[in-house]
Each structure stands twice: as structure tokens, then as C-alpha cells.
Amino acid sequence: MESQIQQIHQQLVDKSISCVTLIQERLDALQKNTHHTVNSLLSEFALEKAAKVDAKIENGETIGLLEGIPFGIKDVIMLQGTYATSSSNLLKPYKSAYTATAIQKLLDAGAIPIVKENCDSFGHGSSSENTVFGAVKNAINPELVAGGSSGGSAVNVAKDYTVFSIGGDTGGSVRQPAGYNRVYGLKPTYGRVSRYGIMAYASSTDCVGPIAKTVEDIRIILNTMSGQDTKDQTTYQSQHIEKERIQSTSNAKTVGYFKNFIESEAIDPQIKDEFLETIEKIKAKGITVKELDFFDSDILVSTYYTLAMAETASNLSRLDGTNYGDRIEDKNLKESYAITRSEKFSEETKRRIVGGNQVLSQGFSDEIYLKGLALRDAISENFEKDFENLDIIISPVTPNIPPKIGDSLKDPLAMYLSDAYTVGFSLGQLPTLAVPQGTQTGLQITAAKNNDELVLKFANFLKDTI
């Protein structure tokens, strides 16, 4: 498939469509959609910007590649003056006071945000059911979940309501919904894209990432959003990824996969078979494929959730109804905090805050939290050793197909375990792309830290190979 961004850009330049018409069509489609992808539409803001793009074209001025391209923003990312609810009751009336760095860079390039997208509240979920705006329905089968937490964003891209969407990925929240809705979703190397302006869930693995329909679109958006930012001191200066450098011919000589992921009893037999067929196709191209040993899925999931809950308990302690959000008054300050948080947070968010405070409390922190940190170090070291002898690691995105709407909320442990294949790469802070090929919920392509370019190149190779 050709780049959607390039295609629409050409239509705007050729005047075969006006930017106002383009934006209005997408807004109408979003308005009418029944997948619960929309938390708020940015109609006035977007149409005003579109009129300016049309005026520029009319005046014979050159427009940039992203100018006039409609995109969506997960509702945990800030855009000044617009709602940022995090799909929660607590922040339902909250408006962003400032704009996230990644979004500002897209605005500077002329892209037009048209929608704040439904997601799991504060990123807490893998199904986009933990939301006060209604469970997001899968783009392919609306009886199934969209995945999460960036479910609304993935569905909007899959249904062509947005050309691309910007999600947040802490433990798989871009990749898993991308897999469930058969689009591309990238978790860049941690620190490549600024986290300034994304509501913090687990700061040590939070990443802002693009969802789109082509590898080329992912490249364009990634290049636009990347870069060092003084407002997020974990960012680093990365190199621009040139289009020519990610063309189809793979320079990956050795590819690995985690044997225990595939031999697990928890994997769906069809996903397993499809994955192994893909491995054979890669081998047939002369690439060496190695089986790798890795940590058990339950250790990966437990390590991730232990650290993520500890961090979210700390990050969400600021949400008490004092300075913003929906406050409930009580007899004194402490009671006001407690009643506000008790009634305005969802059950899943409360579960994670409580879990986080458990692991950080005296008597538990050494046994659980510090051990979790040690395990994360061991996981990172494992990756570093693997990438001394490998170029790429591939993996299914999920062990199973998307569950039916309603099933995940009944069984939180099963939902946590469904993240088994995505959380390890988050703990390793590695660049990982979900691609809509290889299994019915896609494949993940991972490279060493800061080698996002190789990930995109291998995705182009796979597109032509399988």
C-alpha cells in the first residue's frame, strides 16, 4: 500500500480535494461511527486550520508533506485548550493547559488534529473497556475488543477515520491494539520521542508512538516527532531516518525468536502455526533464524506490572480534586481527597494504585519492588547479549485473538497475562513495531536500542516476503 500521507498530500496539491472537505468528511465519519472511538471532536479548531491550508494552496504557496493531514490523539495526550479526560470521570471536565511536545511538532509541520480518542482510563487496560465513554469496538469484528489502551486510536486508523493517530505505549498499548485491528503501531526506543504532555502512567516505560496504515507513514511521523526535548530529560537526539535507507532489501542476517513464547500452552494454535510458517518464509530468504531462551511470560508480566503499578500509584497521587478535575467536597481535606478518588477512579485504576502502594510500602519494597527492578535489569542485559549476535527479534503481538467485549473486565489476571509478548520489549526500552502480517494479530519486530531504522526496514522486507 502506498503512503496515505503522500497520497492525500498529492490530492491537496492537485486540488482534487480541498482541505476543508477532507477534514469535514473525516469529522462526519467520526461523528457517525458506532465503535466508541471518540471522546471529543476538534471540529472548530480543525476546520479553521484546514481553511488556512486551502488559502495557502490557492495562493500558489508550497505546502509541507504533513500540512492538512488529519490525525487523532489518544485522550491522555495534551493539546492546549481541548479536553484531556484520560477516559476518566475524574478528569472529564479537564482541559489541557499546554500542548505535548510530540503534538506541537506535528502542529508545526501542519498536521491537523481532529479527535481526542477513547482509550483505557490513564492507560490502565489492554482492551479499551476501562473507559467512561463506552467500550471501544474492534474495527474488524465489533463484538470483540479493540485492544488497549490506545484502542480508539487503532480503530480510527483501521476505519480510515484518521490518516494516523498518536497513542501511548507503556507495556504494549500501541502495539496490541494495532495488532488487534491490523494496522501498524510503533513503540519507538524509549527517549526518542518526548513524553512531555502525555499523562504519566509508568514513566520509566511510557512512550509516545504512531499508529498508521503503512511503514512509510510511520517513518514520516516518527521523524517529525523525534528529538531531544529539555522538558523531558530522558530524550536523546536521534538521527533522521531516510526513506531510501528502509527500502525492502533486508540487511538483517540473523533473526531470533523466543522459543518459550511459541512453545507456551497459552498460545492460540493458529497463531503458533502462522508464526512458524512466517519463520520458514524468512529462512527461505537466506536469513539465519535462531531460537532464543527468554524469561517466562509470567515473570515478564509480573515484573512489568509490579513496576508499572508502583509508578502509577506515585504519578496519580496528584489527582485528588484539589487543583483540577471533578472534586467531591467532604468534611476536611483528607476526606475530600479520599471520597474524590474513591468515586471518580475506575475499579481497574484503583486496583493498580492500591497494588502500587502495596509494593512500595515497608516490608514489601525489598521483597517485591527492588526484586522487580533487579529482574528488569536482568531482562535488559538479556536483550543486550542477544543483540550482540542478532539483528532482529520477531514475536507474535499477542498469544490469543481479541476477547469478546465484557470478558476482560471480569478477569483482570487474564488481561494482565495477555500482555505477555509486549511487556518485555517495554522493560528493555527497545524499538518495536507491530505489523499487520504473519499472524492474525500481527507480528512484532524489535531491534537493539536506537535502531528504529532497522525495525522499519525489516518491516518493509516482511511486507514483501510474507
Binding site: K231, Y337, N357, Q358, A378
Partner: protein, 88 residues
């Protein structure tokens, strides 16, 4: 006053109790073997002292200030109202 703080107090969530599903995750951690039991060896996210951002006050825009005020949950006679802080 007891020095033991239960999770409901730590979390400021009334009636909060540890979850069975989450406790199962913690059990896995307790029994896991980390090859390296000394954390913080791989602190890749630390910032060099030479690379810290300038410690200076940046004035917010008028729009930002206005949105912050608009977001405040309660206002009375031009003042932003907070709960009573003093306990009995």
C-alpha cells in the same frame, strides 16, 4: 496513633483492599530468580550533570494561566476554593 498505614490510607481510596489478581503477580516476583540481585546497575535514563536544563523560571502564557484557573474545581468571589486543611 498507629504507625501502620493500610493501603486504603496510603492510596486515599476508601475501603481499598489488596486485589487477589495483583497478589498473584507479586507471588511470581517473590519466587523468581533474578540473575542479578543488585538493581540500579543499568540506569540508562540518568542525565549527565553537564546536560541538565537551565534552572530558570519560565513565565506561562496568559492563555495557559487562564486554562489553569478554568480547570480549578471551585471558585467563589474571585477566589479559588480549597478544602479545610485543619483537622479537629
Amino acid at each position: 496513633m498507629s504507625k501502620i498505614m493500610t493501603v486504603d490510607i496510603l492510596s486515599s481510596i476508601k475501603g481499598a483492599e489488596p486485589s487477589e489478581a495483583v497478589n498473584k503477580l507479586f507471588e511470581v516476583i517473590k519466587h523468581a530468580q533474578a540473575t542479578n540481585n543488585t538493581p540500579f546497575n543499568n540506569n540508562h535514563d540518568s542525565v549527565s550533570l553537564d546536560n541538565l536544563r537551565a534552572d530558570e523560571i519560565v513565565e506561562s502564557s496568559a492563555l495557559e494561566k487562564q486554562i489553569i484557573k478554568d480547570n480549578f474545581p471551585k471558585e467563589k468571589n474571585g477566589y479559588l476554593v480549597v478544602s479545610k486543611v485543619i483537622d479537629a
